[in-house]
Subunit: 284 residues, 4 copies
């Protein structure tokens, strides 16, 4: 399983990075994986903060020029790593090790971590998922793997906004906010807001209002190649949150623009569980 | 229409108060109504802030010992007035004059304000609506006419909470928040969160999760005479917002308790539009 | 457990009836329970069809003048028994023995049948649930314990209908149909149609459209003491189905009238599982 | 407007067919359009039944070898014409004249019929919409422009079925039925069943359960190039209804198979109303 017997394929993994949630169990497991890979003779680097904690040297995620980036924690840890590596010329494929109970993106349970990581040293398969490219008045934000959310900066005070698709007005709403999600994100926040479950192969974005004050508001599915724009229509400040990891404010007059990102997120494939099986197991 | 011909009934309105939204149009209209009533010889008092603005003397809403309190603005103005008068021994009946486009509780449009107010001087009818009594660890909050909302204090970060009904666990959820509404509030925030429309005569509370991360979460309807309790199950701070007007924090370990309030909200009845007709007109 | 030790309480059960689904396993179990009760010296009667099948004498359910009516099968068996005994001067309390996988009303699993039945001979507790009284142009239908459903008689062809509450128009819809449910029925068909879960103590009816062709249609909750009337507004025939057991046609011009039934359904109480616990277990 | 000035473009319409709903107003209007086109010297043919009614000769829709097929009636008339012409080597582009109040596909109101038809004689633009190819155990059904619906043949009795996507089990449900829709159909029956609104440019199918007896059931969006299969899992008969126009039964053991149809539906473009504008106007 650990691939030692097939040295010809070991070349396919040249360098591995390790990132972790800021949590004792996660950091401990990250250290174990680090030592396991060192012992295997793999070129492995640790995220700087984690490295310091366990008495090693590390580098920042943004500089991790690796093939695979192992993320120990939950979906948030993985999404953060995808954001931080997105501007690298060749972003790594990520692998999530799940230390808790929930994880739609982090497939590998704690107790199978070294077994699974060992199995990748021989060869590994990568699958890709579309991301959203985001900007506010031309200023770029990190790409979204799951979703970008517009929410009121004052809890329990509604926003008013207009959504345009390819320049056409789609909807004018009073609502708590708005979720614009990828198919990958259809099983995350978008689902909570009432959106449909979308097969990741459908080239589309989901546009789902959060608690709209309008009986007839519905989730929308628009082409991934469309340009979706959102503008506030009242003098309130809103927050734009990307994958629950990055936050910026949006003011009236500014336009949040959402398009297809040119570099998909890359994931290390583990196991053969289909999308549909996963939804049934995790979300029912 | 203004009732002068039937002096015997004028006695039924002894004193009228006037409150207003902090908005130029609203304050101007409040002044007009004030002068109109003074000219009619009615004993009328203005809310202190508004009075100062228009060069009159006024008193605080909390001290308005009046029969009718006219609220110029929107639903928010009315809800605020209901909160502030709730601890008076005999809270006034409120009448909402709507200066904007939306108003489920504020029936009277600007241009009919003096006509309607004049019509009440002869006699007026009052209808009542159930309210919710709220407390956090025994500390009382103002009663809710529409709803109490629990929301995360950090936008786009989910809460975890448990809801109990009469001591029985009802639901354990990860969600953006929770709405507990009266039937009157079923056409307000609760509706945005996906709750049903409830005839005000049904003695019930609505318990509606906000963007729950669980496919099987549903709105609940529980008896108005039940005790609903909510407790956070993670170390995050939440906000408790009453009718969009009053906010307090809820910490882990504290319990938000919701029961039937002993004094219903009192509204001046204007016109004969049925609840069902209103829902069709305002919300479709 | 079988109560022999406390003869003073045996009097409380004078006579027991047994009904069953038309299914081999159910009939066999009905026979076992019958023999078990005969051996205990209980006065017990079998439903006529079942009796014939197992070589005994029986009587029709409509004539079962018993204290408890044991129904072996699923929720449908129980609902049918409640319908058929509804015109008796003193309808029995029903007890459902569940031979399959689902049963919100039939609490007792097959393998605990005689144990539970034995436990009742000493004493038993009854709880009541509100029912709906139904009529079409004055012609009475059996009362509904869960719901009455209006559906198109031609599959996939929409109906058009108007709903009135206490004479006020509530809604005019094009839809597949309409569910009018009790709180007890809120966990049955009404739930499938998108209705809220209603605590059985809330004196209310649910009015839930089936696949309405209108984005703004919503479930409604109306007072149990209201009169709900439904009328077709096109020349199509619809079916009126009571608890999935009784069907009649409704023509244009006829009015389906729904009010509170004067005799609640009576259930034998088994165990101490709360309503909320049951919903979480059965429906999530 | 009628294009006489630009004779070079008149050639683009060589032949026009006219179909109509079986309704007096529709047939009368069909006759008017027929005579209008005859007077213009256009080669025009009438549907046989309609022709007989107005004393002309006609041919069956299935044989209408025309460029444009004008359909007078509602969406149903148009959908029927699309079905009946689907096996022609070069199916016509359809144009819907709406004689009633609703019509998402039939854009042209009665009173603008000849004006619009006249405008097409010079030149006309066609847009295409994806359709679904349907078969039951290899036996082909007409293609679906809006949706195929699986419903119980016995009203108010639930079905049980399994849905597979590309051979993977997607969902196992008890429900009233299932809608499998195109994006075009997302504003029709699928919407009533709770599905999202899908931009017609998204290459996808919607899979939406009808009144599922499962709190966690959700609408799904799957790739248009996938194969969706549905199989009953109980011994009940179901009906398969294509665009509300064509019905067949489905028995246990048979498989309904849904794939992308190779020939899209072709519509004559009228006006410049965007999809989003139309949804806001027609469905709110």
């Amino acid at each position: 399983m650990d691939g030692d017997q097939v040295p010809g394929h070991i070349k396919s993994v040249k360098r591995i990075g390790i990132s972790s949630k800021w949590d004792d169990n996660a950091i401990e497991l990250a250290g174990e994986i680090y030592r396991y890979l060192c012992n295997k003779g793999i070129d492995v680097v640790l995220e700087d903060d984690i490295a310091t904690r366990i008495g090693e040297k590390g580098i920042r995620i943004r500089r991790m020029n690796v093939d695979i980036l192992i993320c120990v924690g939950g979906d948030g840890t993985l999404l953060r790593a995808l954001q931080k590596t997105s501007s690298l010329p060749e972003p790594p494929a990520v692998l999530g090790i799940n230390i808790g109970t929930l994880g739609f993106l982090t497939d590998v349970p704690m107790d199978r971590a070294t077994e699974v990581v060992g199995g990748l040293l021989k060869e590994y398969e990568v699958f890709e998922r579309e991301r959203l490219s985001l900007s506010i008045d031309g200023y770029g934000l990190p790409p979204a793997t799951n979703e970008v959310v517009l929410v009121t900066a004052q809890p329990a005070k509604m926003l008013r906004y207009v959504v345009y698709v390819d320049g056409q007005e789609m909807e004018h709403l009073r609502a708590d906010g708005l979720v614009i999600a990828t198919p990958t994100g259809s099983t995350a926040y978008s689902m909570s807001a009432g959106g449909p479950i979308v097969d990741p192969r459908v080239l589309s974005m989901l546009v789902v209002p959060l608690a709209p004050f309008k009986l007839s508001a519905r989730p929308w599915v628009v082409p991934m190649n469309s340009k979706v724009e959102v503008e506030l229509s009242v003098e309130k400040e809103a927050l734009v949150v990307v994958d629950g990891q990055y936050t910026r404010t949006l003011k009236k007059g500014e336009i949040l623009s959402v398009t297809r990102h040119d570099k998909p997120a890359r994931f290390v494939k583990v196991g053969e569980v289909s999308f549909y099986e996963k939804v049934r197991k995790e979300l029912s």
